[in-house]
């Protein structure tokens, strides 16, 4: 680190009430190199980027120093002085690119305002694999990935030697992530110094240079990227790395087709006026097994889940619950309703926001005869490793992981046969994701459930599922 072009020294960020969010962070971006800062949601990594630009949200205070090569150091709280570095010295590629573009102005004019004259625009677009006509569009017509590349192209047009990319892959699917990585490598190749902030392992692996892992506002480990990823020294780094589904041990496939919890035959569905999403789809879910359904977003995964749950009628085909065809005989839905349940993508939203959790659980007694929540819940909570005192809180006062386990507890109280889990871990951090998946597996094995797991993350599915259906295969 002989020649850092940007160095952050002893940066501490605290709330007005003194609560510290980022503690004593020191970082250096080497000239022409890449520094990747990786951490979970809420670890404080984005605050560091904001502090470098003097753009901390109101109510937060920063101390420490920020220094650019060849310039006197600037106090981290001096946002006016920091704003003097914008464009000329440092440039930001923000997260949520759609928010960074004026929704009422065409791209060409926004690029022009960023300093790219007309001749410079076309090569810039070509360099980032953007169609030429995209400059004549309004931002809303761009996909997230395109907007991202527009911002990168604009940033490239700005001469700043240092570029900070804040969560450049947030909300992108796997293919777009690869593109984004390529884009950043292009920037690095063009000689810019990069500070990349991410929660994405793949990105960290793909970028050369230095890697720093941040946890709860403290840097826990740093070093050469390849070295840290191969053999993390800190406990946290290890745990985190192991949470990658690719590192999980694969489950054994079982296929006892004699004991089916759910089956479907010849299913077809499509929206009016659009081609069918799928047709001729068969599936079999034996008890004690996990069936994975994968497919591209918008491909009908959630619709299929609704059909399997009896919430939506297919255009053709049958769905059998314990041998009864709920498509032909909708009254069967009412009979078996509580046995077929769903685990939602957003666990906090699956609870009524204005009622305490305890009340929501007690209410179940009115729909399930013979259920005593007071008796049945405590052992369940213990098994799911949920602290019982959470029950007095409102849903928004608990974490996503806790909420997902409580959602599971609520389903289990109804004594289900099948649980359909729609992207149950996509909003959870990797470590929590791993724990939740392990728990689901254990429940399937112990309680004899059938689990349908819907996700776009093939690696995750492959590591836990006994069988997999790719929805794209049934496209018309």
């Amino acid at each position: 680190m002989a020649d850092p072009v940007l160095s952050v020294t002893n940066l501490t960020i605290r709330e007005r009430n003194g609560h510290i969010l980022v503690r004593d962070v020191t970082l250096a971006v080497p000239r022409g190199g890449v520094l990747t800062l990786i951490g979970e949601t809420g670890s404080g990594k984005s605050l560091i980027a904001q502090a470098v630009f003097g753009l901390l949200p109101p109510g937060l205070e920063a101390s420490g120093q920020i220094m650019l090569a060849g310039r006197p150091p600037i106090a981290a709280g001096d946002s006016r002085a920091l704003s003097g570095l914008w464009r000329e010295q440092i440039m930001l590629i923000p997260q949520e690119p759609s928010l960074a573009l004026d929704p009422t102005m065409k791209i060409r004019r926004q690029m022009a305002l960023a300093g790219l004259d007309d001749e410079a625009v076309d090569p810039a677009l070509a360099a980032f694999d953007l169609p030429v006509h995209s400059v004549d569009l309004y931002p809303f017509a761009l996909s997230g990935g395109m907007a991202q590349r527009v911002l990168v192209a604009s940033a490239l047009g700005v001469g700043a030697p240092i570029i900070v990319a804040d969560e450049p892959t947030k909300g992108l699917d796997a293919e777009r992530v690869t593109q984004a990585i390529a884009t950043l490598r292009q920037l690095a190749a063009a000689g810019r110094s990069l500070l990349v902030i991410t929660h994405d392992r793949h990105m960290a692996e793909a970028l050369p240079g230095t890697l720093a892992i941040i946890r709860e506002g403290v840097i826990v480990e740093r070093g050469d990227s390849a070295r840290v990823l191969a053999a993390p020294e800190s406990d946290y780094g290890r745990t985190w790395l192991e949470a990658d589904p690719r590192h999980w041990s694969r489950s054994a496939r079982c296929c006892d087709m004699s004991d089916l919890a759910l089956s479907a035959h010849g299913l077809a569905f499509g929206w009016p006026g659009a081609p069918l999403l799928f047709k001729g789809l068969d599936l079999h879910l034996p008890r004690r097994s996990i069936l994975a359904i994968s497919g591209a977003s918008g491909g009908g995964k959630s619709t299929l889940a609704d059909i399997l749950l009896g919430l939506r009628r297919p255009l053709a085909g049958s769905v059998e619950w314990a041998g009864a065809d709920i498509v032909a005989d909708p009254s069967a839905i009412r009979r078996f309703r509580q046995r077929y349940q769903k685990l939602h993508q957003d666990p906090i939203q699956s609870f009524v926001p204005h009622l305490s959790l305890a009340r929501q659980f007690t209410a179940l007694e009115s729909v399930k005869t013979g259920l005593s929540v007071a008796r049945a819940l405590p052992p369940l909570l213990e098994r799911l490793k949920v602290k019982p005192d959470l029950m007095d809180r409102l849903p928004r006062e608990i974490s996503g992981g806790e909420a997902q386990r409580l959602a599971l507890a609520r389903i289990l109280l109804l004594d289900p046969t099948v649980i359909i889990a729609d992207e149950p871990t996509s909003r959870l951090d990797p470590v929590v994701q791993r724990e939740t998946m392990a728990l689901l597996r254990q429940l399937v094995d112990d309680a004899g459930l059938g689990l349908v797991l819907i996700s776009h993350d093939r690696a995750l599915l492959r590591s836990v599922a006994d069988d997999e259906i790719q929805l794209d295969a049934f496209k018309t």
Partner: protein
């Protein structure tokens, strides 16, 4: 989205809205017809009283008017007649003055339009600078002062504002005439009264629009890209802030009409509100229906204008239109 497609969308919006406007207007007028005839009391007698004066009205006058105006025909025939002439663009004649309803509406409508436009313009002359300034310095002295002003004005009924202004400027200071419509001096107090009632609601809207746009990340990002704060607001702020303001300004039209009834009575101003109130008292059916038609239609036209403005200002709206 291509230019042709955008134009096409615009065209469809216009056609749809004009169709809606016509339907709304006809429906309102028909409702008025139903209302007037559902009511107890002798219609012809009401008309007679309004025509010849209360004290000279006799049952004979009422009978003559009933005969002359065809009020003795079955209702469905009268309604059919009205719809038929409406299709020809003829709104009939006032039972009171005998003049064509179109002429009455045009005469009074012109006054209302004039007062409405001046009042509306004036309100934005007051609200825009104050709202924008307050939005730039939230929590500052101007922001707090305009907030107090807006809340105060919002809590005062229009007639109290009018009485206050008349008492101060016409009766005490004697700067302006208290009532009438003949000169521009006569317009000042009614227009200011109207403007103040509008300002109460437009200031916070403008302030919040400016505040929101200034807080938007694309404004910050524009500065990161190197624009100065004024340049960033000029390029990215004005248009975005104008979107909610335009939508609201159209909504205010309904309030403008409400305000007219009170203001025109208070200032003896011969606008549509006054015409309508008089026609109601006299049960002048053709004028009531005509006024219903005009008010319904003009409201629809104002919303159409607002829609088009919004489409022009906000390309996202164009995308969201589902005709």
């Amino acid at each position: 989205m291509s230019v042709a497609k955008a134009t096409n969308t615009m065209l469809r919006v216009i056609l749809l809205r004009v169709g809606q406007a016509l339907a709304t207007a006809a429906l309102l007028a028909s409702l008025c017809f139903a209302f007037v005839h559902m009511l107890p009391g002798d219609l012809a007698l009401r008309v007679a009283a309004a025509r010849v004066g209360d004290e000279r009205v006799t049952p004979e006058t009422a009978d003559r008017i009933r005969r002359e105006e065809g009020l003795d025909r079955p209702l469905i025939v009268q309604y059919g007649q009205w719809m038929k002439s409406l299709a020809r663009g003829d709104l009939g004649r006032s039972l009171l003055s005998g003049k064509p309803v179109v002429q009455e509406l045009a005469y009074h409508g012109a006054f209302t339009l004039q007062l409405g436009l001046i009042g509306w313009l004036l309100s934005y002359l007051i609200a825009l600078p104050l709202g924008v300034f307050a939005g730039f310095r939230p929590g500052g002295i101007v922001d707090r002062a305009t907030d107090v002003l807006a809340v105060t004005l919002a809590s005062l009924p229009t007639f109290l504002v009018g009485i206050g202004l008349v008492t101060l400027f016409a009766l005490t200071l004697r700067w302006l005439p208290p009532a009438g419509f003949r000169t521009s001096a006569h317009m000042v107090l009614p227009a200011v009264t109207l403007a103040l009632s509008l300002v109460a609601f437009s200031i916070p809207i403008i302030r919040n629009a400016v505040l929101e746009v200034r807080a938007a990340f694309f404004m910050t990002y524009a500065r990161v890209k190197g624009l100065s704060p004024p340049a960033a607001f000029r390029h990215h702020g004005i248009r975005n802030a104008a979107i909610p303001v335009v939508t609201f300004a159209a909504l205010q039209f309904a309030f403008v009409i409400d305000g007219f009834v009170v203001i025109e009575t208070l200032f003896n101003y011969p606008g549509l509100g006054e015409l309508l109130v008089k026609a109601l008292i006299a049960r002048d059916v053709p004028v009531i229906m005509g006024a219903g038609l005009v008010i319904g239609f003009s409201f629809a036209i104002v919303s159409l204008t607002a829609d088009l403005l919004r489409l022009w200002l906000d390309p996202r709206a164009l995308e969201a239109v589902r005709v």
